[in-house]
Symmetry: C2
Subunit: 212 residues, 2 copies
């Protein structure tokens, strides 16, 4: 079944789950695809189609049970459990990632960070210990790690990705501005604010930028 579900659909499910979690926290028991679509600026038809890949949710004209759909989405996505993460690269960006408070509550625990810089090795960033990069491979042999975060400079990123993949990591969150290559059985997502900005300027460009 997995192979038939488009990746764009999988990418939208976490957005639905987050909205449903907020509705549940606000005490809402039921929501229509119409109302959910308005919350998320997508069409109700898209929500219904996306969910149809995973079975039938909600009854015609009665909307979705918020808790039931949320639980089901969390199970489908695998976000109903704890995931173990390592971080490679502890420059300014890596430090911000290590100390970001948003991962833990969502079940993503950063176990350890790695860098070659003696100024950060041995420190703790929040609760995350920083080890030397040379210890990455042995750490991955001794500890189950599910996801690797890459926050090294672009020139080093592919080599780090290769080390993580070689150690059996199958999911990588890449902050380096390169199109890192991974084998087919490894999933990679890129966080790249420059590309995001460059995808917006198309919409705001004018023949002559107005001076002011």
């Amino acid at each position: 079944m997995t192979l038939e579900i488009p990746e764009v659909v999988i990418n939208r499910l976490p957005v639905y789950a987050r909205a449903l979690a907020e509705l549940a926290a606000a005490g809402e028991a039921v929501i229509s695809s119409q109302a959910l679509g308005e919350l998320l600026d997508v069409t109700p038809a898209q929500i219904r189609k996306d969910l149809s890949y995973f079975g039938r949710f909600g009854k015609q004209g009665r909307g979705y049970n918020v808790q039931v759909l949320l639980s089901k989405l969390r199970e489908i996505l695998g976000i109903d459990r704890q995931w173990r993460v390592c971080l490679v690269g502890v420059g300014r960006l890596g430090q911000a990632i290590a100390e970001y408070g948003g991962f833990g509550p969502q079940g993503f625990e950063i176990l350890a960070a790695f860098d070659a810089n003696p100024e950060v090795v041995g420190r703790e960033l929040g609760t995350v210990p920083v080890f030397h990069s040379d210890d990455l491979d042995s750490f991955l042999r001794q500890n189950r790690v599910d996801i690797g975060i890459v926050a090294v400079p672009a020139t080093e990123a592919q080599a780090v990705v290769n080390r993580l993949v070689g150690a059996g990591i199958r999911a990588i969150l890449n902050y380096a501005p390169i199109n890192a290559h991974v084998p087919n059985d490894v999933t990679i997502r890129h966080i790249d604010p420059v590309l995001a900005m460059q995808s917006m300027t198309f919409y705001i460009k004018r023949p002559e930028p107005s001076a002011k």
Copy 2:
């Protein structure tokens, strides 16, 4: 013509442009859609189809002229010029954004940052001056700003987006973990590492996570 081009196509063009810039820097004069596809892990057919929205590039069997295609893509995307950016929110994340060296060389100049925290107001982050949030609206009246970056906590993000939109900003890069709403004539992109992680766990989950 703009309305007919799918947003997913626009989102891919910056990736093509980045690869072409690297090829140009490496002295490559010509590249086939096959070779470009291999570099980017996409099919040559997708590259040809994406580019076909904008006219004819390259001759059958002879590949693309790297410099010509790069120039054309930069023009299409509007990344052949300087863009003026403001940053709202100077916590740890905002500081990392202000001091990130990757925006300037790509033509995105962060003119100013805004926060209400007296510990950061009046400071300079790299070359970016930090002003008080109260001065945001008057700054936007007095200076042309094209893009707003939102790096405030989730609870404040929609209000900040509304202020930016109200001041005429039509492109917003949002780092807050909310589905911020904008009018139809405003483009928004979200940078959300938790959602990115949650879209990967689908692919790596097992019925029972193996303990180790």
